[in-house]
């Protein structure tokens, strides 16, 4: 707390006051344009999410037979990612009626939760000042602001991703059963919402390994963790695969759609494409981190102290870079990847 008092005026005496101000500003900026129709950027994905939520509401919340309406005169059954955000929105439709602003507000609420978790996670590595700076970058990232109020599952994915890492690192320090189970639930939901959220296993397993080395594989907790976090998405993907295979008009399947994109667009070709780097660099420097945030991030890589805890961050960063090259490169038209 001392570092905080030296830096900020006297009237801001504790971290919670500053935290509240940052989050309040973050909330206000996210509420701008909250009632816009779903024709802003990423309108296709937003309309699909809204359509699935409305169909869930009309189909009595049958999450195992979700529907989309643009397959001609067909019933439109299709299984995509686990419809958590769609389901929550559909439940709220029972209370407030069908209004797409509800979907946007669900995203905003998840993003507020994610802000808390981001701060909690940052505090495990940083002092109060450092963590508040990290939160400022997270809250005011232009790309994050947009996706935090879009009718899309991105905001909920970030909430569960951050929670999965936060609760896991907490558990690694304190070893409580509730923390362990909470970490599992968050990781499982993160992967269910978006399978590429599986990137969180990089920092999680790195932290585990750095603490217990090879003994982690003999730990009583390791295998149940692995099983319980990955089994839901494996089961859901298998269900989606077999369900969609029976539907003649449906071309979506978890692995197939990724493999198809990789097959048609290739991976390695993008590594030598100027367009890939221009798109990736532009998106990261201007839309995700902003120029100051980018400079600060690069500086942070250099000035972070060499200790085992910070190695977790390097592994996390490394995993994301591999992901960019291996998968996101061929999807570089979609900035959210």
């Amino acid at each position: 707390m001392n570092d905080l008092r030296k830096t900020f005026p006297v009237w801001i005496k504790n971290e919670w006051a500053i935290l509240a101000i940052i989050m309040l500003l973050g909330l206000v900026i996210r509420l701008y344009g909250i009632n816009l129709p779903l024709v802003d950027s990423h309108q296709i994905r937003q309309a699909q999410t809204a359509m699935m939520a409305r169909n869930l509401y009309e189909d009595n919340m049958d999450i195992f037979h979700t529907r989309l309406d643009f397959f001609g005169n067909q019933p439109g059954y299709i299984i995509m990612e686990f419809p958590l955000m769609h389901g929550i929105t559909a439940l709220l439709y029972y209370l407030f009626g069908v209004h797409e602003v509800i979907g946007r507000l669900v995203s905003v609420i998840f993003s507020i939760g994610a802000m808390f978790l981001m701060y909690g996670l940052a505090r495990q590595f940083l002092t109060v000042i450092g963590a508040l700076s990290a939160l400022i970058l997270y809250v005011f990232s232009p790309m994050n602001i947009f996706f935090s109020r879009a009718f899309m599952p991105e905001s909920s994915m970030m909430f569960f991703m951050l929670g999965a890492v936060y609760f896991f690192l907490k558990w690694l320090k304190r070893q409580g059963l509730i923390l362990y189970l909470t970490a599992i639930i968050f990781a499982a939901f993160a992967c269910l919402i978006k399978p590429n959220a599986g990137l969180i296993f990089a920092p999680i397993f790195a932290a585990w390994f750095l603490k217990y080395k090879w003994k982690m594989f003999k730990s009583f907790y390791f295998w149940p963790y692995l099983l319980l976090t990955t089994m839901p998405i494996i089961l859901w993907a298998a269900y989606a695969h077999y369900f969609n295979a029976k539907i003649p008009y449906c071309t979506f399947s978890f692995a197939d759609s990724w493999l198809e994109v990789i097959r048609t667009r290739g991976i390695i070709g993008h590594w030598f494409s100027l367009r890939f780097y221009a798109f990736l660099g532009g998106s990261i420097v201007f839309l995700l981190l902003t120029p100051l945030g980018f400079i600060g991030t690069v500086a942070g890589i250099i000035c972070a102290k060499e200790n085992s805890q910070n190695k977790v961050l390097y592994v996390w960063l490394g995993a994301i870079i591999i992901y960019f090259y291996a998968l996101a490169s061929c999807l570089c038209d979609f900035i959210r990847f």
């Binding site: 802003d40 005169n73 700076s133 970058l137 232009p142 590429n196 995700l288 902003t290 942070g300 960063l317």
Partner: protein
């Protein structure tokens, strides 16, 4: 988006490092030239950020399909019950018209066999033919330019709306027939 949390933490490290050099900063703040340059830098950065945010949000929040709500309202008005829309749009944009008109929809592309394909879809229950201008392009002129298809549409079906920005045809009952 995956990069943001880890970047934010690394950003926190650089802020901590900067603040740990408090003595140097205090020393520099005693020099008037530094204060002038630093203040100018901060103002420039703030202006740059404000301009960047405005440009970004103006772009991201602007409508990609400015006529979709208008078109959906017209479709819902003349066809209040079940709707099956043939949408002459590129790719998945059909999902937006489908959502707003609360009906089934199918993408459609102009080919040499457009009339046969239209009739095939109509035989499967299509009630509406739509094409509209979006920020990704417009097939309104292309639809009109295909003389055979355009004349066929006008001769056989009632035009629910024809503007420079969108075309809507009611396919439920062909003109001059007892259907």
């Amino acid at each position: 988006m995956h990069l943001l949390p880890v970047s934010a933490i690394l950003f926190g490290f650089s802020v901590e490092w900067l603040l740990s050099k408090g003595g140097i900063i205090k020393e520099m703040l005693r020099k008037k030239l530094f204060i002038f340059l630093f203040t100018s830098f901060v103002i420039l950065v703030l202006i740059g950020y404000a301009a960047g945010y405005l440009k970004y949000f103006k772009y991201m929040y602007s409508s990609r399909m400015p006529y979709v709500l208008e078109v959906s309202d017209i479709i819902k008005k003349y066809s209040p019950d079940s709707r099956f829309i043939i949408d002459n749009e590129s790719g998945l944009l059909t999902s937006v018209i489908s959502y707003y008109s609360h009906g089934k929809a199918q993408p459609f592309s102009m080919t040499g066999k457009s009339i046969e394909e239209l009739e095939d879809l109509r035989a499967r229950g299509a009630t509406t033919f739509v094409t509209m201008e979006t920020t990704y392009g417009s097939r309104v002129q292309a639809t009109k330019a295909d003389k055979d298809f355009w004349n066929y549409l006008n001769a056989k079906y009632r035009a629910a709306a024809i503007t420079d920005h969108y075309l809507i045809f009611d396919l439920r009952a062909p003109l001059n027939t007892k259907e």
